[in-house]
Symmetry: C2
């Protein structure tokens, strides 16, 4: 059973290699997409090469809808995107994947059905396929080296879908089993180092002593220290003292 999550259908139009169908299924499932539609795959259907390549994403292939013509694949859709690299002689909005998946998100949230067409490996979509679409998706690649393959185009579109629809913290800090040190803990650390280093005659000459102390305090406070870091730094210093007193 496909997932319940509302999502666009990805339509592979006349795909040639089974491997690419399998790779597209994997690319889709990476981003939580599992509604594939297939228009007249060259080597028939089902296809063993597709299954072998899909491995863990075989479910996407099992549930894929097979049709003969592109129009049947989008018959129930109210908004259709066509992915294409080349400029076409058709008046049609051309969107980045980012903008397109933003539009898709809005339409799907409003209850519409959305599909994205992907063309065959060599030639891409024909103009008759594109004429069925409301808008074109064009990935902004280096114009001197545009070489995205079918699964990569599916991957980038799927990535943008997930980026637009699944809230992800853009930056978190992974804590390896320790909380951040508090200001008082850092202050005690600074104190410990300052006193010990003072005994060791580190703050010399006298005229520079104040600025050296200030710089050292500042060093600790601008470090992102965890409680474990603070414990380790205390331990290092205690060990140096122990080593010294042993002579």
């Amino acid at each position: 059973m496909p997932s319940d999550t509302p999502q666009p259908a990805f339509v592979l139009v006349r795909p040639q290699m089974g491997e690419n169908i399998g790779a597209a299924a994997r690319a889709m499932l990476n981003f939580g997409l599992d509604r594939m539609r297939l228009v007249a795959p060259r080597d028939g259907w089902p296809n063993q090469s597709a299954v072998a390549m899909a491995s863990g994403a075989g479910r996407v292939l099992d549930e894929a809808v097979l049709v003969e013509r592109t129009v049947e694949a989008v018959a129930d859709c109210t908004y259709v995107f066509a992915t294409t690299a080349r400029q076409r002689d058709l008046t049609k909005p051309v969107m980045t994947p980012e903008r397109a998946m933003e539009v898709a998100r809005e339409k799907i949230a409003a209850g519409e059905k959305v599909a994205v067409l992907f063309g065959p490996e060599r030639a891409g979509l024909e103009n008759d396929d594109i004429a069925l679409a409301n808008a074109i998706i064009s990935v902004p690649v280096n114009p001197e080296f545009p070489s995205l393959n079918l699964a990569q185009c599916v991957l980038l579109t799927g990535y943008e879908w997930r980026r637009q629809t699944v809230e992800t913290a853009s930056e978190v800090t992974e804590m390896a089993g320790s909380d951040w040190a508090t200001a008082i803990e850092v202050d005690r650390l600074a104190e410990h180092y300052e006193e010990t280093l003072d005994s060791a005659g580190f703050f010399f000459p006298e005229t520079k002593s104040d600025s050296m102390r200030r710089n050292l305090r500042n060093l600790w406070s601008r470090m992102p220290l965890t409680q474990a870091d603070v414990r380790m730094l205390h331990g290092m210093l205690r060990q140096m003292v122990r080593w010294k007193t042993k002579g």
Copy 2:
């Protein structure tokens, strides 16, 4: 010669298959990136499978910098990202590709040198490699099916770099050799249809005539018509009249 455009270096750490090195080169060049560094590729260097797969992106391989250890690959860099799928037991910021390439853009604009580490195919980066990094990049994939390969991880990171640095109109309408129709042209079209349809007895019954006229006018004005569309619509109607008068 690599391009002059300031950009992050992409470092492939102990890559296994030559094909994947070639695919990574293609993925990079799609997004205008051409500074590859290689740490101890398993099958030696240069590698014929890499060259065959890279095809048009062979230049990226020719200019790749080969080193023995990860630390040598990032020796000149002031900020290093490590890409990884698994959770690691290290205290380190974890960023989305989007956030990471935003940080990279800012640092590179300020004259810093930035690198991104990508691990070997099977196991990914080792903790010793990751310890060299200032931050981790983690692609927000479906947690139930995370299956990005090396070239795909390079592709998504490269895509985000370009998305953050190259201004692209998010939506433009491709015009197939015709400008948009002006309001007066659309008004004349509405007039033409209204008069002809009136003669044909279309606005019937009388009680509904006003709302039918209003709906028809509204239909034209909410269509995104080009001048070529308007000419075709005038022509269609004239032809119907000609056909009728012949009849």
